[in-house]
């Protein structure tokens, strides 16, 4: 038996309200290094909020978030150290429109990591190459397809060498035929041992690539486990209904 | 010799402020009507009309109001059109206001999503029908805050009518300064009067804008 690993990301009893509405009602979750976790659930079930809490974009009201052994205080203000460990990719890409693909990737290396010019450039080139866009270094986001933009966004996060990468429905804003190229990149990252937490509606992808599926319902984790198991034998009626709905089309 | 008390100064300035208010109202109402016509021409599907409106706007936004008033007041008589100070000020301010409002409103029309034009076209509506029932109701709603905001510019613009003989607040201010030798006090008061006229307008423009953003 292997020794008990400390998880890379550990969430305990996370609570979060927006005004009077409690959106996260006590979430516990642990993700080990190299794991690929997919979160699914209905719209409004709190998936994005949970993900955003992990890198401090939302300040939680209660509970403890631990990343790589360090605690994220709910009240803490300096989140810079945390955020260098936790990368995030958004549904809407959020590339900086006034910078080229290369500059998008280099910016944080320069101003946050204070790397020198040569190192920055080398890192950016290798990150872009990794997502198959080595040749688009000088293209502006507006000159790229949605799929390419999303891949640049992934490269931008990767270049910071995060311990874990959070992806929030990163293919939902894409035209159907562009989805595959982005999922391909994610699949590669997973194979290379990157720790990933994904929110996704691509059930087939989740099934194939993920180690674990987390089904959120009403601000709680209603069910989790290996994808095949959950899909084939959902133990809650909510999950059964959700699967039915997604596959109804 | 003459002695202006503080009350003399203030009452004279306030009396002069009547003209400022009246001129502003005239400019705003007639400028608004002219601006609406100009707007329709500016976004109409008829190219010559669009061009003419564009040219008009370009000229009136590209030259000082001071010069516009001067030309309306002193040059129109040269081609046989008699203009009193009142009509000149009204005409000059109206044209000026119309040009700016038309441009502001065009921005609002263009802020109406293209899909609204297409959806209404697909329902077989004509340009006037689209404007009347679909585009303008939406555009005018978002136009309210910037329009109220622009009224501040109109109020301030009336200061320039002193050039054609209007004794409005600014002119009264210079005259009184000259008689009292108290520029700091007098111009301070003049500034305050304008502020009292304009600030409520600015505030309501902001409030309207906030309301609009919430409503959406």
């Amino acid at each position: 038996m292997s020794p008990v690993k400390t998880p890379l990301v550990k969430l305990s009893a996370i609570r979060k309200s927006f005004g009077p509405v409690e959106v996260l009602k006590g979430v516990d979750m642990a993700v080990e290094e190299g794991q690929v976790v997919a979160m699914i659930g209905r719209s409004g079930s709190g998936k994005s909020t949970l993900l955003r809490s992990i890198n401090g974009l939302e300040r939680i009201d209660g509970g403890v978030i631990e990343v790589d052994g360090e605690c994220v205080d709910p009240g803490q203000i300096d989140l810079r150290a945390l955020r260098q460990k936790v990368g995030m990719v958004f549904q809407q890409f959020n590339l900086f429109p006034h910078l080229t693909a290369g500059e998008n990737v280099m910016l944080a290396l320069k101003v946050v990591k204070k790397q020198d010019k040569a190192a920055t450039r080398a890192a950016a080139e290798s990150a872009l190459a990794k997502v198959g866009l080595g040749h688009k270094f000088d293209a502006y986001p507006s000159q790229l397809s949605g799929g390419q933009q999303q891949r640049v966004a992934i490269a931008r996060s990767l270049a910071m060498a995060p311990k874990v990468l959070l992806c929030d429905e990163i293919t939902s804003a894409l035209d159907p035929e562009l989805v595959a190229e982005v999922l391909g990149v994610v699949r590669k990252l997973a194979e290379e041992g990157m720790t990933l937490i994904l929110v996704t509606h691509e059930m087939r992808f989740a099934r194939e690539v993920c180690d674990r599926l987390v089904f959120m319902h009403g601000g709680r984790i209603a069910e989790q486990g290996p994808p095949a198991e959950l899909f084939d034998r959902p133990s809650t009626p909510e999950l059964a209904q959700f699967i039915g709905m997604v596959e109804a089309r | 010799m003459l002695n202006f008390t503080l009350w003399d100064i203030l009452s004279n300035l306030l009396l002069a402020a009547r003209w400022t208010v009246l001129l502003s109202l005239i400019a705003f109402v007639s400028g608004g009507i002219a601006g609406l016509l100009l707007l329709v021409a500016r976004v109409s599907p008829v190219p010559p009309l669009r061009l003419a409106a564009k040219l008009f706007i370009e000229v009136f936004q590209g030259t000082p109001l001071l010069m516009q008033l001067f030309i309306v007041f002193f040059a129109l008589p040269l081609i046989g059109i008699e203009t009193s100070a009142w009509t000149s000020a009204a005409v000059g301010l109206t044209l000026f206001t119309a040009a700016y409002l038309a441009e502001i409103w065009r921005g609002c029309v263009e802020a109406v999503p293209k899909g609204q034009w297409e959806a209404s076209a697909s329902l077989a509506m004509t340009f006037p029908e689209q404007m009347r029932h679909v585009i303008l109701p939406q555009a005018l709603r978002i136009a309210v805050p910037p329009t109220v905001g622009f009224s501040v510019q109109v109020v301030k613009g009336t200061a320039v009518t002193s050039i054609i003989g209007f004794v409005e607040v600014t002119k009264a201010g210079t005259m009184i300064t000259n008689a009292t030798f108290q520029p700091f006090l007098v111009y301070g008061l003049v500034g305050l009067i304008y502020f009292a006229l304009c600030y409520p307008l600015s505030l309501s423009a902001k409030a309207l804008e906030r309301k609009l953003n919430v409503a959406r």
Binding site: Q92, F96, H98 | G62, T63, L66, M67, A159, G191, Y194
Partner: protein, 224 residues
Amino acid sequence: MAYSFDFSSLLDYTPVLVDGVATTVGLTAVSTVLGVALGVGGAAARTSTVKPLAVVVGAYVELIRNTPFLVQLFFIFFGLPSLGIRLAEWQAAVLAMVVNLGAYSTEIIRAGIEATPKGQIEAGASLGMTGPQIFRYVVLGPAMAKIWPALTSQIVIVMLGSSVCSQIAAEELSFAANFIQSRNFRPFEVYFLATALYLALAVALRWIFSLMGQRMFAKGVSRA
């Protein structure tokens, strides 16, 4: 029409007109640079989390935007000497124009900043950037690109507004026009010419700014 136009009498005054145009251009150029810089600072202050700063800048903006430029100019030129602050006419004109443009561009740039998609800021934050870094590298550029047309219009307005600086004897284009017409008693010719020159300046200014905009905000940020 009984009036016969005679533009030839303007020829003698060409140097005066040239000086006037040059002064108008100079005043506009200096106050544009300083005024926009003031606006960037003002906008940063107004959107900052430091409350007192935001309030002070807010008061400045409101005060300026709700009083006529002419009154501000008179106040600075004729009023401030009572406090022992005496400025030359060009200094007063530049100061008034900078203060005026500063207030307007603060508002314009602030609007641009606030129109920055939240996702952009979140993306910057997720990369570990600090607030000021996000402002400097992520927000400012696209905000400027977005408000460039509005800023251009405001600068044109300030340029046209500089015509009232003639009232404090700053020798710009309107001053030249007034000077000439008071000599040759031919106001119509002079004012028509001056108006045309203003129009030309305004068109040139817009053109220059749109070129600058195209260069600075070339590909990435279309106005959409």
